[in-house]
């Protein structure tokens, strides 16, 4: 941001210069030059923060408030529970329907640690104020602009202050604040503060009234909440949308993410200007001490080495190093071999948690997740995680569809649905600028055809597929301040591709198995279906004079004899149902073979715990959850499945024909 402001100032001067000829003196010019406050700057450049249009503004406000709430809870070691409420604000006493409303109130409540009274105004009504900017540790927010910018946007569009209630514990009182931002000075203006009664023992509630537009679909608040639930299965989310409907996203993973540790900057990641500032600000008296203590992965020996390379005495006072010497030092740092930064500062979501999140929110037949080992770009450690949810899941609709006979040409109809990519940076869903994002590019780059998924050139792979990509880092390189797309660093893209390839490989195995099972089923069914037809045709040919049942049973007998008989039945049965696979499987790093046991771990306890808590709407696939316990002992679902298509078989014959499998 500093950059932008500098630019803004720089632009003003050359403009004024030609004017000087008209008669402005340097003094006059000087008089018109003054500082631009950050708040003023953003008032004019709100798009930089994601408030470019009313629909996006509503989303950004929700997003910033939720990010803050989750960060606060996690930092305090509390499993987060967040209530999100978006309401229509009546204009002139009339409350328009949500789709037409232009004014909303966004309220976000968490049951986290709360905020001490003194800090409240500054956190919510001062830009660039916060705890996250100066440290190198993974968190959702990075710069300390978000929530105050949302408040400022509300203030600009409605003139209403931000309302905050916060309480730090049962024994402390709850504080109510109404604050606004002074856009000239970037200081908070407190309009109202008082102690109030609050039903929550602790936590924070922030409420902003603002102009906005509520529209469902892509990049909506609804999608944001859903995606947040996927990547944060340890969070319980309750979302009340403007239609007044409540959606509960229950917690499905009862572990807090590992608390990321704060690290010092890695020497490779800093820029020259920052090095100068650090040299100036350090508490160390010696250069070697400064290098060893202010950076990570710089041991005294490495510090010596850098000093020697730069040809500067290790005992020189850091403050005195400037100009050419500083440049030499910077070069020496870059050319010295230094260990990669520690990765304890990053806390990945984890494969199990991703699986749980995907499983809970997205219907599918197959889920997989991969967490890559840490990697580094520009001295910043990062971790890439990827996941895939594939398939449509066990649908009720399918049965109805089958009843409709297919018309000519319909048999070849293929779904042209393309994969959907859901992107995250530090657990925050990214909803805009998809094509500018490194993650999206990496997904395009991956050769999905290798895994049996069709993909036309320059397009996403085709199929009922959701691709999950998460980048966790102390500093995610966004392409803009509104944090919508990850910048395209080679190192990052490479890691994403590796993760996707691993996911793709597992999906390929799954698809192949499914295909195989399908063809087995097909074979065993062919004769059953065709015998019926052939016998009917014979009967008509013989003008009805035919012992059809007898012919049928004779043919069944031959089919049986020629295709391996009941043995094949057994083999097929053991594989579980007509598809040969349970409705959902999860492939984990442990391999494909252990798919069913692996399912139990993240899920077995969860659905039961969650079920009474969340009635109907939240669980995306309640039916799936019910079926899962069945999948535990591998033999049972097979029997259940067999029983289902029974009537047809009973009618046909007691014995079933089986495919040729055993013989081939």
């Amino acid at each position: 941001m500093t950059k932008h402001i500098v630019k803004a100032e720089a632009q003003e001067q050359p403009k004024r210069r030609p004017a000087a000829r008209v008669g402005l003196t340097a003094a006059e010019m000087g008089a018109s030059q003054r500082e631009i406050s950050v708040s003023e700057f953003f008032t004019k450049n709100r798009h930089l923060l994601g408030f470019d249009n009313p629909r996006k503004a509503l989303l950004t406000a929700v997003k910033e408030a939720v990010d803050n709430a989750l960060d606060a809870c996690e930092e305090a070691g509390i499993l987060p529970e967040v209530l999100i409420k978006v309401e229509v604000v009546p204009v002139n006493g009339v409350k328009p329907p949500p789709a037409q409303a232009t004014r909303f109130r966004v309220t976000v409540v968490d049951y986290g640690p709360g905020i001490v009274r003194e800090q409240i105004p500054r956190i919510f009504a001062k830009l660039l104020y916060g705890s996250k900017f100066h440290r190198l540790r993974m968190s959702r927010g990075q710069q300390g602009i978000g929530i105050s910018a949302a408040g400022m946007y509300g203030q600009l569009t409605t003139g209403k202050p931000v309302e905050i209630i916060s309480r730090t514990g049962e024994k402390s009182p709850a504080h109510y604040f109404e604050v606004q931002i002074n856009t000239k000075t970037n200081e908070p203006r407190i309009l109202e503060k008082k102690q109030i009664e609050w039903e929550n023992h602790r936590g924070t509630q922030v409420s902003i009234e603002m102009e906005g537009r509520y529209q469902k679909g892509r990049a909506s608040v609804d999608e944001y909440v859903e995606l947040t639930a996927i990547a944060n299965p340890h969070v319980k989310l309750v979302y009340v949308n403007p239609d007044g409907e409540t959606k509960v996203y229950p917690r499905t993973f009862n572990e807090l993410p590992v608390h990321p540790r704060e690290i010092k900057p890695h020497p490779y990641g800093i820029e020259f200007g920052i090095l100068l500032k650090m040299l100036h600000d350090t508490k160390s008296h010696w250069l070697s001490g400064f290098l060893a203590s202010d950076f990570s992965r710089v041991s005294p020996r490495v510090a010596e080495e850098i000093c020697t390379k730069a040809n500067i005495s290790p005992k020189k006072r850091p403050r005195d190093i400037m100009g050419p010497e500083a440049e030499a030092l910077y070069k020496a740092i870059q050319s010295t071999k230094i260990m990669a930064p520690p990765t304890s500062c990053i806390s990945p979501i984890g494969e199990k948690a991703i699986l749980t999140g995907l499983y809970k929110q997205i219907k599918g037949d197959f889920y997989t997740a991969v967490t890559r080992p840490p990697a580094v770009y520009r001295g910043n450690p990062f971790i890439i995680e990827a996941g895939i949810a594939y398939g449509r899941g066990p649908q009720q609709g399918v049965e109805e569809k089958r009843k409709v006979p297919l018309a000519e040409g319909e048999a070849g109809d293929k779904e042209t649905e393309l994969a959907r990519v859901i992107r995250y940076a530090n657990r925050v869903p990214l909803l805009y600028q998809q094509s500018a994002c490194s993650t999206f590019q990496a997904a395009l780059d991956t050769s999905w055809r290798n895994y049996g998924i069709s993909q036309s050139k320059g397009a996403m792979p085709a199929g009922p597929m959701v691709i999950f990509i998460h980048m966790a880092s102390v500093w995610v390189p966004f392409t803009s301040e509104s944090k919508e797309a990850v910048a395209d660093y080679d190192e990052i893209r490479k890691e994403i591709k590796l993760a996707l390839q691993e996911c793709g490989r597992r999906l390929g195995i799954f698809l192949k198995r499914k295909e195989h099972a399908k063809s087995e089923f097909h074979r065993r069914n062919i004769f059953e279906l065709y015998i019926e037809e052939v016998v009917e045709a014979c009967k008509r040919l013989k003008d009805g004079k035919l012992a059809a049942e007898k012919l049928k049973s004779q043919l069944f007998k031959i089919a049986m004899k020629r295709t391996g008989g009941e043995k094949t039945d057994e083999i097929l049965g053991k594989k579980g149902g007509p598809e040969g696979l349970p409705d959902s499987i999860i492939v984990t790093a442990e391999g494909v073979e252990g798919d069913i046991p692996a399912l139990q771990e993240p899920l077995a306890g969860e659905p039961e715990a969650a079920a009474p808590e969340s009635p109907a709407p939240a669980a995306a696939a309640p039916a799936v959850e019910l079926e899962l316990p069945l999948a535990l002992p591998p033999a049972k679902p097979a029997q259940a499945k067999k029983a289902a298509p029974a009537p047809k078989k009973a009618k046909a014959s007691k014995k079933k024909p089986a495919p040729k499998r055993a013989k081939r």
């Binding site: 409709v404 000519e408 052939v534 045709a537 040919l541 012919l551 043919l555 031959i558």
Partner: protein, 365 residues
């Protein structure tokens, strides 16, 4: 004769059911043997000058995963054909497709997905049951036209093909004596034209009147009705048959089908082929002889070239003049449409080209 043939075809169709029943009775896999309809199973009988079907047969078994569906489809088509016999109806290929199409019980699979699946099965049954398509009561569209000094009797109606205006009489797909009788013909020869457009030109110019001939077209590859009618005129009225086609590999093949019969319907050759038919044009020599400029030629595309090379290998194209003819086209790299003659004059075909050809007896055998 009519009823006798019908009875035997019907019983042959019912034989399909008996085949299944007998096999089932003995615990065997029901199998239909179908003569192979491919180049590998045709022989060129040089003495007779026609393509004949070989003895290779393909077994179509029910309990074979790869053939089960086809077997089932064969039974369904057989059933539909038997229904035609019983009802004394004729029908089209497409209607048979619809008649036999339905969704398999308890599934979303159709017996036939499109007509491309049922058409070959009808041909399979033709050869397997040694029944002609007419005998199976399957007709094609009336895709041919005839005009000339002859009188036909169709369903008892007298059709004077000299009084059919410019449009001509539409040749039915079944022209067996039972259906169409040639009651009178005073023409000297038959001219079979590939393209309807050129046929129109000749009909409009009353070419047939001036040269006393029968003008026939099949609009591309002539359908069975046209071929059969030409053959009957040749047999019954001793008329020579001349074939006028485009100068490209497809034109050559059309000529060869008229003359020797086709690979696919080799079993029909003895009924349809006219071994003495002559190729009157367009020959690859004609552009030179008649001064057609290069710019009305069309560059041979890859398909044309590979098709021409295939023709070079067919036993019935082995005569020296034919090898020369095809090679000349290949080396020129160009093909010519009949329509290109219009570059000289709209009536060039009627007034100059054909008269000269006939006068010079300039044709290939």
């Amino acid at each position: 004769m009519k009823t006798k043939a019908k009875g035997s075809v019907a019983s042959r169709l019912i034989g399909l059911a008996d085949l299944v029943i007998e096999a089932a009775e003995r615990g065997k896999d029901p199998t239909i043997n179908i003569p192979v309809r491919a180049l590998s199973n045709v022989k060129f009988n040089e003495a007779r000058g026609i393509i004949e079907m070989g003895a290779n047969k393909q077994a179509r078994s029910f309990f074979n995963v790869g053939m089960a569906k086809k077997f089932m489809q064969t039974m369904l088509v057989g059933d539909a054909l038997a229904e035609l016999q019983r009802g004394e109806l004729t029908t089209s290929l497409r209607e048979i497709y619809y008649r036999a199409k339905h969704t398999l019980q308890d599934s979303h699979e159709n017996t036939f997905d499109n007509q491309n699946e049922s058409d070959p099965i009808i041909e399979d049954l033709e050869v397997a049951l040694a029944a002609l398509r007419e005998e199976l009561h399957v007709r094609a569209e009336n895709a041919g036209t005839i005009v000339g000094p002859l009188v036909l009797v169709d369903d008892g109606d007298r059709v004077d093909c000299a009084k059919m205006g410019k449009g001509g009489y539409s040749v039915p797909s079944i022209v067996e004596p039972d259906y169409v009788e040639i009651s009178k013909c005073t023409a000297d020869f038959v001219l079979l034209v590939e393209k309807g457009t050129q046929w129109n030109r000749l009909a409009e110019d009353k070419f047939w009147k001036k040269y006393n001939c029968v003008l026939l077209t099949g609009n591309g590859q002539p359908p069975r009705g046209v071929r059969r009618l030409a053959r009957r005129l040749h047999d019954e009225k001793k008329l020579p048959v001349y074939v006028l086609v485009d100068n490209d590999p497809w034109g050559y093949y059309i000529y060869s089908v008229v003359k020797q019969g086709s690979i696919n319907l080799a079993f029909e050759s003895q009924r349809m082929a006219i071994p003495t038919a002559k190729f009157i044009g367009l020959s690859s020599l004609d552009p030179e002889t008649y001064g057609l400029p290069r710019n009305v030629g069309i560059k041979l595309n890859e398909k044309d070239v590979s098709r021409a090379k295939e023709l070079l290998n067919y036993p019935w194209f082995q005569k020296k003049p034919w090898q020369r003819e095809i090679r000349r086209m290949l080396s020129s790299g160009l093909k010519y449409e009949l329509d290109a003659l219009a570059s000289k004059d709209f009536q060039y075909l009627t007034k100059k080209y054909l008269p000269k050809k006939l006068k010079d007896r300039d044709w290939l055998d």
